[in-house]
């Protein structure tokens, strides 16, 4: 009996060697990964980081992004009481019209923080009643603050030193006393002045009131119609800067859309030069492919830095950075798609006597159009995210706005507003692009 030499003979030995190799491999890969993770644990100094982390900042941020505070400030030098949203002068309540939790009697006042927490301000002295703890008394003097606290251990939320008292028994109530002022913060849920600024004539109006106003003929502002006035007041709200944020979002979308379309427009013709079956010249092909590699390799980060230097801040800079990088990426993808087309269609078109251009138009383009469209739409989607990042590098748009509001780290509700809008825009772009993809490619 002859042995077929083309079929390898399977012996138990061979099987066992394979099984052992396989076992070793299955054991080794997780071990290598684990080893790598341990190495990076130390390389990133995760332990040190965790010890330095400030979870209370996260709590403050979380509170502040869903709540706002009203400051009641007693200025000791001027002997003056001011009640203002977020302590801002332009959002100060009129002294005849204080909120009902602030009672004023001459130079004395009582601030009711709810649930039994009560602050009495008598001249330069502040009495803070904390249920379950006692009364904290602090008096501002010329040299500092005289503080009396109930006997026993001092709780964590109370920080005292001769210059300052800072008590925050709950996350939403806080009292500070220094030599110059007594300041009480009362927190409320929600976003204050979201629709209209505090001193706008539309402040505090309900939706139905606004609706009625928009339809009425009596103009609040003789220059504009009421509807236009409402839109204007909304967009110009100085605390929330709706108008500026919308503009920044538009800039970001413009960067993504313009960049992607430009990249596609340049990538497609260049892809023909890089595809083996369309460009016989090896020199040409090699050159185009290296151009693609170069454009992709430089990366969006470096391109945007170069463009920021040349063109300054704005959507043009971002669009060009995206266009340059993605001409490389899309060009490479298109050229791969071109190399994989079916040549029969092209030959069929040629047989009818079509010239070069007609062969491309009727033999090639219909084959790569689905790939072309779906890749362009994928890139459009991911470029919306990239555009926010490029913006943060300094190209403008919503990214830069986000970094700036975070840096000032004062009004976290603004930051969360921007974040929510950005994510909504990204999701909307995502949905639009997949909808378009379904419509155009699958014809549904």
């Amino acid at each position: 009996m002859s042995i077929d030499t083309l079929e390898p003979v399977i012996t138990p030995d061979l099987v066992w060697t394979k099984v052992r190799n396989r076992t070793l491999f299955t054991m080794l890969v997780p071990l290598v990964i684990l080893g790598y993770l341990i190495y990076t644990w130390f390389a990133f100094d995760v332990a040190g980081l965790l010890s330095k982390a400030q979870p209370d900042r996260a709590a403050i941020l979380a509170t502040d992004s869903v709540a706002y505070k009203v400051h009641v400030t007693k200025n000791i030098r001027r002997d003056q009481l001011e009640v203002a949203i977020e302590g801002e002068r332009r959002a100060a309540y009129d002294d005849t019209n204080y909120p009902d939790w602030v009672q004023v009697d001459g130079s004395n006042s009582v601030v009711d923080l709810g649930e039994g927490y009560l602050v009495e301000i008598v001249d330069k002295t502040m009495n803070f009643t904390v249920p379950g703890y006692g009364v904290i008394t602090a008096t501002a003097t010329n040299s500092g603050v005289d503080i009396t606290v109930p006997p026993g251990d001092q709780p964590d939320w109370l920080k005292t030193n001769p210059k300052k008292l800072d008590a925050r028994p709950t996350l939403d109530r806080r009292v500070q006393v220094t030599r110059t002022k007594i300041e009480v913060h009362n927190f409320f849920g929600g976003w204050e002045n979201f629709w209209f600024s505090f001193n706008s004539d539309l402040y505090g109006m309900s939706f139905s009131q606004l609706y009625a106003l928009a339809l009425s003929a009596d103009r609040l502002d003789p220059e504009y119609s009421n509807l236009w006035h409402i839109v204007h007041e909304f967009l110009d709200n100085p605390d929330w800067q709706h108008g500026e944020i919308f503009l920044a979002l538009l800039e970001t979308i413009m960067m993504a859309v313009l960049g992607t379309i430009t990249a596609a427009a340049f990538g497609l013709p260049l892809a023909f030069l890089a595809a083996r079956n369309f460009t016989p010249s090896m020199f040409m092909r090699f050159g185009t492919r290296r151009l693609f590699d170069f454009l992709r390799g430089i990366d969006m980060l470096i391109w945007s830095l170069i463009f920021i230097r040349a063109f300054g801040l704005g959507p043009l800079t971002g669009a060009l950075a995206i266009a340059f990088t993605d001409t490389g990426s899309l060009g490479k993808l298109f050229s791969e798609a071109l190399e994989n087309i079916d040549n029969k269609q092209v030959e069929g078109v040629r047989a009818t006597g079509a010239n070069q251009l007609q062969r491309y138009r009727f033999g090639v383009i219909p084959q790569i159009l689905p790939v072309f469209l779906s890749q362009v739409l994928y890139y459009l989607e991911s470029n919306t995210r990239s555009a926010t990042v490029i913006g943060a590098l300094g190209a403008g748009g919503i990214g830069l706005m986000l970094v700036e509001t975070m840096k000032t780290s004062r009004d976290w509700e603004n930051t969360s507003y921007i974040i929510i809008l950005t994510i909504l825009v990204v999701i909307a772009m995502d949905q639009t692009s997949s909808w378009l993809r379904r419509k155009l490619i699958e014809g549904k």
Binding site: L61, D293, L301, R309, G312, L313, S409
Partner: protein, 282 residues
Amino acid sequence: MAVAALEQEILSLRKRRQLYSLIGLLLVVAVLVSGYSKSNEMNSGGFLQGLSKFFDYPGEIVLEAWNAGPAFFGLIIQYVPAMLETLNIAGVATLIGGAMALVLAMASTRNVDSWGPLIPVVRRMMDIMRAFPELIVALFLIFVLGSSPVPAMIAVAFHTAGALGKLFSEVNENIDRKPIEGLSACGASWLQRIRYAVLPQVAPNYLSYFLLRLEINVRASAILGFVGAGGIGQELRRTIGWGQGAGDETAAIFVLLFLTIMLIDQVSSYLRGKLVGSGRAH
């Protein structure tokens, strides 16, 4: 007669199609033209003025790099540790994100017998994870944890889990169900079916997507460094901040970044070609 009517209809259909294509094309051109003119207005520096300055900056740093002479290569070596940190951010983020994506994908595809009620929930979750730009998560975590590579790592991993999860579940949808049915016929549990029937089928595609993501994540980590997450991006920000005179250092970082990205691109596209065949390696 009927043939003529049919031809008539085909002709009218084609006409309409051509009209739609023309409208679509015009729309794109209109967006392009109006967009560029508008963005040219909104930009702080115009296109034409900028064009003449376009080569100034690259020229300046290339000149400084040239003047540095052989010391330039020393500079490149000097920034290798920072580059390594960026690579580590990308590596760990892709590993963790990939592991999460695997779990998410297995929980969100009907084809691999995921638990029904969970499927839409996990899908929406992945959509949201994908939509979060890395920048936002990174900035938030930098604020809480301080400037370090870890925030960038978490941010990239979060996004990766969503993005890879979607791709993985698309792979799951196209597998052959026969091995799964065979295994359930012998009474295999769900985990056993996943392990012995699903994973062997999807592993090459998963690995290919994993490598593609690694490539993307290296770029993303470099950029996040620029907003304070450590690695090469942070070094770049520092040298750019020094302004004139530090051009050679900036150039060294550019060169290092370029070389690394090229290397990773080439290696990963070679490996992906081996895994799934060159035709599908994208």
